[in-house]
């Protein structure tokens, strides 16, 4: 039935991409213009000035002749426009044209750079080129996309993924962007692991550095010190477990209790995720440090000498659990809400009591959520950099070691790469363990069938500890944040506690000048940049993440395992490594984007994409496939099914992805510190500058302001995206 339909029409998707390919080749500037968002080139000599000329005109002028072979790949597809999809040639021609075009484009981009040929063997083969090229621009981008999607249409026509154009295109697109923006930089960076001290590559140096005592020593078992690898692992496991438990506690409290202040609790649990780095650390020092309020009070009461107990594992653990519980909560709430009450009602009908129901039905159905929450907590802890820096004491962890191997007095890039290697090994290991634990069971509970239940309350034996834990944690979080707000309002934190608004005035002063409002405060420039970057990257992250999740849960194709691995990889690599890797990879043609706002957007999209993927997978594995199947049976194609059936049911996951990526664009630091430039400075790097300069008041005031901005933005997003109404549960009085 569907085949008949698609054959009757001319293929609009095909025609679209053929046109796009030509526009990219013959109309838009082939090479990069100074600023991606600036269109000065239109009035500045385009289309003939060679910096802005499209590829076709360059060749016509006899320049950059290596771009010419792509013409063949653009002309070939014109031959198939009138052919039927079932025609054998249709698929073959598209595969050959798209594949050749794309391969040639990549090869010439990598092979010819700023100084002519990039590799000695190319010079040996062809002689000196005597010409050079800059990074690719709009034209190259569009033409490359056209080649890619012509190729995927070709494969689809040959029968891949049941001939589904949307799905093959989506797989091709995701694979390509992940390859370019995740694999390529990481491979470049890890190549540095094999660089020996005096230059050149050496396997034995690599091995001796990899099994260094400072990384793997088990001295702490016998009273000495352990290697950084064990430190990181131990910390990450603790953080993963604690955040998952706390996330579950809050999720249960919100969905399965008659707790009255759900709205306040929800706001409270989201608070730490929207806090810029260093601030929690500073607040914890002021509470529990040697001269901290709590330490001093306790020391006075019990007459003991105050100690520096907080520096080291306890401090990092407290700060990280505080910071990452919200992530676990965001994952758990989607899953806990998504468990269909019908199952629980069925259990109760069969005379199970509430405890039995919870233990044997609800909890096992939450397993994907538990596993994903643990994984995220584990990885976040491994990659966290701000908290260990402030509170680490002599408890060294991998992420800070990597940072200081690169920027510290050693300048040892290969050691950094090796530590990154170890870190990657742990995070990917966790990923495999998680998959093993989830196994092949089904966690589907939302089906197309009627679903009208209301979640039962928690069993009493569970609700008491849940209330106690949530209460304690809530009180602690409140104290920390009260301290932060207070800190932004006093003259000199920890010393002179006169109340003042000076810090806000310095940062956010607004005056009236000749041309209207003058943003005279010192923080405005980085503030607006941050807002802009966050606003652009959040929807992109959600889109890439959810499409990937859809492909992973709903489609079967070859290489799915490695596909999943690839999409998770960027999350497992600490930001510091990503930062340096991005500079190494994207400072030179073919993709030359360092120093632009674009590189910040891209780094956020691919750093945060795994959160969208995990949240999407967790939610989607609860939606029964029969929903898609009925939509497909009724004649919708897979894109329509995705848009009209799955997407609306995924609203919690969409909100999670949007919120997370928006927020992390405002709070992330480790990768950002390498990627900011004079024109695109971000608030976090500005805040660090203030902290380094003893300007705690200003740093905290700025952070506080950011917290309020993010709260407003998160609220707005939830309002815009809206909530999914599954059954009657929305009416059960969920405060929201």
């Amino acid at each position: 039935m569907r085949l008949a339909k698609s054959e009757s029409a001319a293929h609009p998707v095909l025609i679209f991409w053929i046109i796009a390919g030509w526009v990219g080749y013959a109309v838009l500037p082939w090479y990069g213009v100074e600023d991606f968002w600036e269109f000065r080139w239109l009035a500045d000599g385009w289309p003939f000035y060679s910096d802005y000329a499209p590829a076709a005109l360059l060749i016509a002028q006899g320049q950059k002749l290596w771009l010419a072979p792509m013409l063949v790949a653009l002309i070939l597809p014109l031959l198939v426009i009138r052919r039927r999809k079932s025609d054998d040639l249709y698929g073959k021609i598209l595969i050959v044209a798209g594949g050749f075009g794309f391969a040639w484009l990549v090869a010439q981009g990598l092979g010819i750079g700023l100084r002519g040929f990039t590799a000695p063997w190319l010079v040996a083969l062809f002689g000196e080129l005597g010409d050079r090229q800059f990074g690719m621009g709009y034209g190259a981008l569009l033409t490359a996309s056209a080649f890619l999607f012509l190729f995927t249409q070709g494969i689809a026509a040959r029968g891949a993924v049941n001939g589904d154009v949307f799905v093959t295109g989506a797989i091709g697109g995701v694979v390509t962007v992940v390859a370019i923006f995740v694999f390529f930089p990481i491979v470049k960076m890890l190549g540095a692991a094999f660089v020996a001290d005096g230059g050149g590559y050496s396997g034995s140096t690599f091995l001796s550095k990899l099994f260094d005592q400072r990384i793997w020593s088990l001295g702490c078992l016998s009273g000495g010190r352990c290697g950084v690898a064990w430190n990181s692992l131990f910390l990450a496991v603790l953080v993963g477990i604690l955040t998952t438990v706390l996330g579950l506690v809050f999720a249960l409290l919100l969905t399965r209790s008659s707790f009255r202040y759900k709205r306040a609790l929800r706001a409270l649990t989201v608070l730490p995720i929207i806090t810029p780095p260093f601030v929690i650390g500073l607040a914890i020092i002021l509470l529990f440090g040697l001269s901290g309020t709590v330490t001093q009070t306790v020391a006075d009461w019990f007459g003991i000498t105050p100690t520096r107990w907080i520096y080291g594992l306890p401090g990092i653990l407290i700060a990280q659990v505080l910071a990452f519980t919200p992530i676990a909560f965001l994952v758990m709430i989607g899953v806990v809400e998504g468990v269909s009450p019908s199952m629980e009602e069925a259990a109760q009908t069969l005379r199970a009591n509430r405890w039995q129901t919870f233990r044997t039905v609800s909890l096992p159905l939450m397993r994907p959520g538990l596993a994903n929450a643990f994984l995220l907590g584990f990885i976040e802890s491994m990659a966290d950099f701000g908290n260990p820096l402030v509170l680490g004491g002599n408890y060294d962890v991998l992420s800070t070691e990597i940072f200081f191997a690169i920027v510290g007095a050693q300048y040892d890039q290969s050691r950094a790469a090796i530590l990154a290697f170890v870190l990657l090994f742990f995070t990917l290991g966790a990923f495999w363990v998680q998959r093993f634990w989830l196994g092949r069971k089904s966690y589907t509970t939302v089906t197309g069938k009627g679903d009208a239940g209301v979640h039962p309350l928690m069993p009493r034996g569970l609700s008491v500890p849940v209330y106690v834990v949530a209460g304690l944690w809530g009180a602690f979080t409140l104290t920390v944040y009260a301290y932060i707000v207070y800190g932004s309002l006093v003259q000199l934190w920890g010393l002179d506690h006169t109340l003042t608004l000076d810090h806000y005035r310095t940062a956010f002063a607004v005056g009236w000048g000749e041309n209207g409002i003058r943003w005279s405060g010192s923080a405005w420039s980085s503030f607006w940049t941050t807002i802009m970057i966050a606003t652009i990257s959040a929807p992109l992250t959600a889109a890439v993440g959810l499409i990937t999740a859809y492909l992973l849960t709903r489609q079967d194709f070859k290489g799915k395992q490695s596909f999943e691995f690839g999409t998770m990889l960027s999350f497992a690599v600490p930001g510091t490594v990503i930062g340096v890797a991005y500079i190494l990879a994207f400072n030179v043609p073919p993709i030359e984007i360092t120093g632009t706002g674009l590189i910040l957007v891209i780094s956020f999209v691919f750093r945060n994409m795994p959160v969208g993927v995990r949240a999407g997978i967790a939610s989607m594995s609860q939606l029964d496939r029969s929903l898609d199947e009925s939509s497909l049976t009724l004649g919708a194609n897979s894109w329509q099914t995705f848009r009209a059936v799955i997407l609306p049911l995924l609203k919690p996951a969409i909100v999670a992805a949007l919120v997370y990526s928006f927020v992390s664009a405002m709070t992330a630091i480790s990768a950002v510190i390498f990627l900011v430039s004079a024109r695109y400075d971000m608030s976090t790097s500005y805040i660090i500058g203030r902290v380094e300069n003893n300007d705690y008041g200003l740093a905290i005031a700025y952070s506080t302001a950011l917290i309020f901005v993010m709260l407003a933005a998160v609220g707005l997003m939830q309002l815009v995206v809206g909530r999914t109404k599954i059954g009657r549960r929305g009416a059960a009085g969920m405060g929201h």
Binding site: Y52, Q61, G289, S291, V588, A678
Partner: protein
Amino acid sequence: MRYQFWAASIVALATIGTSSGAMAQGRLSFYCSAQEDWCQLMARSFEESSGIRVDMTRKSSGETYAQVKAEESNPRGDIWWGGTGDPHLQAAEEGLTEEYISPMRDQLHPWAIAQAESAGNRTIGIYSGALGFGFNRDLLASNNLPEPACWEDLTKPEFKGHVQMANPNSSGTAYTALATMVQLFGEEAGFDYMKRLHANVNQYTKSGSAPIKAAGQGETTVGIVFLHDAVATAVAGFPVSIVAPCEGTGYEIGSMSIIKGARNMDQAKAFYDWALSAEAQSLALQVNAFQVMSNMAAESSDLAPNMDLIKLIDYDFVKYGSSEERRRLLEKWDNDVSRLPQ
């Protein structure tokens, strides 16, 4: 034929196009490794005096070095100003920076010129600061400790758990301290000192100025840092006193380099000359930067440590700035000192 007609007209138009594609005039990409407000002030003041638009990026000198190295084949920055001298020397050693002899040279202190000559004129000193330590008066009193005045005082048993310094592996400041001890006491005695100090250290921080901030906040009693950082903490209002150790001490030279292959070379040189002038160097006082500036005519603060009264050692920047010696000392420190029980 039609094709030839097209080609001809395209070539004709292209020449017009080329001539109209004017380059943007007067920009400078400025990598700054000093404190934020100083960087801002330098950028703004240079814009005002020259009319050149400045794009400033502030990063620590280690981070900037990493970036300059990563960008080697396609430099984004034009000039790199500020931050301790070692990464500048390292960059010079690796040929990442450009040779330049400024006409302003004769106005500078001899140590600044010596620094430039040792690096083949690829970098130059703009300020210097001596190493020392600061202590928190309140904590010292509440723990009934005597006021320390010498390096040796810090190894006394009563200071156990009261001293903080940065990790030489991660911080240029702490590496300067290590190299200072080796030069001051000789290699054997220097390492012996580091071992005795190790017994009293409560934490090796990652960042060089963190110990004095911790001292200001009351999280440690003594912090080993550069004296100008200690002065800045004291001026910010924290109960911190500053000590220039009696045995003598080492120092750093904050430096400036032009990045090799800078896109805006003329502007970079204009900045270079301007930054060596007395007028530009006197700006430091406005932002509580208490280093000694390299121009002899630059104004200095009353609060700044008087370099004439500090016993400075003859610090060998070439030897102790070289990557070989650095690696050797750091490895030795790692194996012989940091692994000892505390």
